[in-house]
């Protein structure tokens, strides 16, 4: 079954122009990638546009994927995230931060346990746990829900400048911790 081939194998076939491999990749990944785009855009129509854009990018850029440098799933997820973020920016990120679809799921304490499913995830979980709580929440909200600095600031009820500085400091702390 094509759709059960590893994503990296399918990507190599897509790079050679194989349309069927792209379809198999879609069948295998669409639910996950749509979830990633939907978390950022919180609108099914927009998320569908982002996933469509992501698959066009995948078909053009599959040759850029290098299995020696990372996992295919992470590469595909990144393509979908960038497509969704680009669309969110085009829409002016005018999504209200009191959006009812924006739950606390990614910042709930138990959510970090799901991150710890892999060895890299466990290290990241531990390093995130070491961050100041608001700092951690800001990073998670930005990554999962695509919130801008201003939206994170509104959501956490902090001044914009503080949020920018905190997120930067948090990212540097994460890098140190993960080294």
């Amino acid at each position: 079954m094509r759709a059960e081939s590893p994503a990296a194998t399918l990507l190599a076939e897509v790079a050679r122009g194989d349309r069927r491999a792209l379809r198999a990749l879609y069948q295998q990944q669409a639910t996950r990638l749509f979830g990633i785009a939907h978390a950022i855009l919180r609108d099914r129509e927009a998320a569908a546009d982002a996933v469509q854009d992501a698959f066009l990018r995948i078909s053009q850029r599959a040759a850029q994927f290098d299995p020696a440098r990372g996992e295919a799933g992470a590469w595909l997820g990144a393509v979908a995230r960038y497509a969704a973020l680009d669309l969110a920016r085009k829409r002016g990120r005018e999504l209200p931060t009191d959006d009812p679809a924006l739950g606390d799921t990614p910042v709930a304490p138990e959510a970090l346990e799901r991150v710890a499913a892999s060895a890299e995830g466990r290290r990241l979980r531990d390093c995130l746990s070491a961050l100041d709580e608001k700092n951690r929440k800001g990073i998670l909200l930005a990554f999962v829900h695509g919130l801008s600095h201003a939206q994170v600031a509104a959501r956490l009820d902090l001044p914009l400048g503080t949020v920018k500085a905190w997120i930067r400091r948090g990212l540097l702390q994460l890098r140190e911790c993960l080294t």
Binding site: M1, A3, R19, R23, Y26, Q27, Q28, A30, T31, R32, F34, G35, I36, H38, A39, I40, R44, E45, A47, A48, V51, Q52, F55, L56, S59, R69, G70, E71, A74, W75, G77, A78, R81, L85, D86, R89, P100, G103, T105, P106, E110, A111, R114, V115, A117, S118, G121, L124, I139, L140, A142, F143, G146, H149, V152, I167, L171, L172, R175, L178
Partner: protein, 231 residues
């Protein structure tokens, strides 16, 4: 301007991956990337560092016609001539075991081909962390929710699975009760009316259920109710 200071460049890469750059800054970086191998490498490193966070976005079945849309948009796609409907559905059925999107679409076929013109049914497929369909949840017109497991699963001793709903706009989930070992449950949601966008979650709890009235263990399955047959 792309900075020259190494620390500033690394922060820029990190914020690009995190998604907090505004449209102008992101476009500027995109334009600089082809000629800046070091910046590309910094971005790859940040992607790898943060990639595990992608599991925090709940998997969700895309609209059933999305693949057809993508195929039409691909360069060199055959002009309009829409594929015969039947084959499309057949392919979706073939993909049954593969993607939950196909599962949802397939069930939608069953539901929409029922004779009586009923209000749209709400349903969702809850996925495992490996994106395999694990549970089907369906709301009937009287507002009851039916939960059925797709694959039988064994639970560790001393643990229970609890079902929760979270309506759009609510901040705290409502318990719908414990899931019996046979993996089937029909619940009257009481005051909470199933509606599109409602999150359905299953958490792992101590025997007897959460002592606090909110999930205390990890959320192991999650899905969002949508109208069957619509996108």
């Amino acid at each position: 301007m792309i900075p020259t200071d190494p620390q500033d460049r690394d922060i820029l890469a990190a914020e690009y991956v995190l998604g907090t750059l505004d449209a102008r800054a992101a476009a500027e970086l995109d334009a600089a990337l082809p000629g800046d191998a070091a910046l590309r490498a910094a971005i790859r490193e940040w992607e790898a560092r943060l990639a595990p966070l992608m599991v925090l976005a709940a998997p969700e079945a895309p609209p059933p016609d999305l693949w057809d849309r993508i195929e039409r948009a691909l360069p060199g796609a055959p002009r309009p001539a829409p594929a015969p409907k039947r084959r499309g559905w057949l392919d979706l059925w073939r993909g049954w075991a593969i993607g939950a999107s196909a599962v949802a679409a397939g069930l939608a076929v069953v539901l929409v081909t029922r004779p009586a013109p009923e209000p749209p049914r709400l349903m969702t497929v809850l996925l495992t962390q490996r994106d395999q369909p694990a549970w089907v949840v369906e709301a009937d017109p009287s507002g009851r929710l039916h939960l059925a497991s797709v694959t039988p699963r064994r639970l560790e001793e001393g643990r229970a699975m609890q079902l929760w709903s979270l309506a759009p706009g609510e901040t705290a989930p409502t318990s719908l009760g414990l899931i019996p070992p046979e993996g089937r449950l029909t619940v009257n949601t009481g005051g909470v009316r199933p509606e599109p966008g409602m999150l359905i979650e299953i958490s792992l709890e101590p025997p007897g259920g959460s002592p606090t009235g909110r999930p205390t263990g990890p959320i192991i399955f999650i899905g969002r109710l949508t109208a069957a047959g619509s996108s």
